[in-house]
């Protein structure tokens, strides 16, 4: 990890978790010989690993977390 990521968003910023719901599983999937696409890899699976391994960092990085 390249340092803690803050999960607190200003009101005008879309929440990452809502973006992830849509962008990791949505959109037209293009595969084929001309494509270099991670859609062929299980994007959701790959990134879930990153999410899980990042969660502890996230929690440390989140200000105002009541002693969790």
């Amino acid at each position: 990890m390249s340092g803690p990521v803050s999960l607190s968003h200003p009101d005008d910023e879309l929440s990452l978790v809502d973006l992830l719901d849509r962008l990791l599983a949505g959109g037209v999937v293009l595969t084929g010989e001309v494509t270099i696409s991670l859609a062929e890899v299980d994007l959701v699976h790959v990134s879930l690993r990153a999410l899980i391994s990042s969660v502890s960092t996230l929690q440390q990085g989140r200000p105002g977390e009541p002693g969790a």
């Binding site: 990890m1 390249s2 340092g3 990521v5 999960l7 607190s8 879309l14 929440s15 990452l16 978790v17 809502d18 973006l19 992830l20 719901d21 849509r22 962008l23 990791l24 599983a25 949505g26 959109g27 037209v28 999937v29 293009l30 084929g32 001309v34 494509t35 270099i36 696409s37 991670l38 859609a39 890899v41 994007l43 790959v46 990134s47 690993r49 990153a50 999410l51 391994s53 990042s54 969660v55 960092t57 996230l58 929690q59 989140r62």
Partner: protein
């Protein structure tokens, strides 16, 4: 050497690429055929080739950067036209490969564009009201009973707490079912997501509905009003409008 990242596909002549930065800080552009145009960006080959992207997907900070930039370009494009969002991390060797893909997949893209025309995506989430679940301590047994049978008193209180939070949860589930049903009546289609991880959402309330609906633009106000009314009694959160990411896959209904 560089590669070509694809954001979305639109009909030919639908408009220029949006004036926003892409995933590599680049300015998006259009690559087109007579029929269709792809909104693309030129990205560096190191970092955006298969190995580079695989590495990026292991790092939440980089995922967040890619997700926000990809969404930003698609959303900016979708503001004034119909576009079919393309899955995150779809990269081609060059413009010719994109053109080839547009020709090969032309009919499928036109079907997708027809299905999402004049429609946008709205997210609806329902949470258990955590405050209600933990609110108002159970009615205390009389002081005499507590003094006589401290263990029994404790168990009774525990059971009352448990019953109350189960009731609040059951009631939230009922609201979630009602909200989902009402929302579906005012929408064209629905997809359900897995419940969001509380650690990522930062919400301590339990989520009982995480769904997204494809809604006709002309019926958006009606949809929102209906969902708000159906959600009385629980914590309901709506997000949107989103470009129809969740409804852009060809194989789907």
């Amino acid at each position: 050497m560089s590669l070509v990242w694809v954001y979305a596909v639109q009909e030919s002549g639908a408009g220029d690429a949006p004036q926003v930065s892409g995933v590599d800080g680049e300015r998006p552009r259009i690559v087109g055929t007579e029929r269709l145009g792809a909104v693309v960006g030129t990205v560096a080959d190191d970092g955006f080739d298969e190995a580079g992207l695989a590495a990026a997907m292991e790092d939440l900070a980089r995922i967040e950067m890619l997700v926000r930039a990809h969404h930003g370009v698609v959303a900016a494009t979708a503001e004034d036209r119909t576009v079919a969002p393309v899955r995150l991390a779809t990269v081609f060797r060059d413009d010719d490969a994109v053109v080839h893909m547009l020709r090969e997949r032309g009919d499928a893209f036109c079907d997708v564009l027809d299905r999402i025309r004049e429609r946008r995506e709205w997210g609806v989430k329902v949470y258990v009201d955590g405050a209600a679940a933990g609110r108002e301590p159970a009615s205390e047994p009389g002081p005499a009973a507590a003094a006589d049978r401290p263990g029994t008193s404790y168990l009774l209180r525990r059971r009352a707490d448990r019953d109350r939070s189960a009731a609040v949860r059951a009631s939230a589930r009922a609201v979630a079912d009602r909200v989902a049903g009402v929302a579906r009546e005012h929408a064209v289609d629905v997809r359900r997501f897995a419940p969001q991880d509380a650690r990522l959402s930062g919400r301590d309330q339990e989520i009982v509905l995480n769904a997204t609906f494809l809604v006709d633009r002309a019926r958006e106000q009606e949809f929102r009003d209906a969902v708000s009314a159906a959600g009385a009694g629980a914590v309901v959160e709506m997000t949107g409008p989103w470009p129809p990411f969740s409804f852009a896959d060809e194989g789907q209904s």
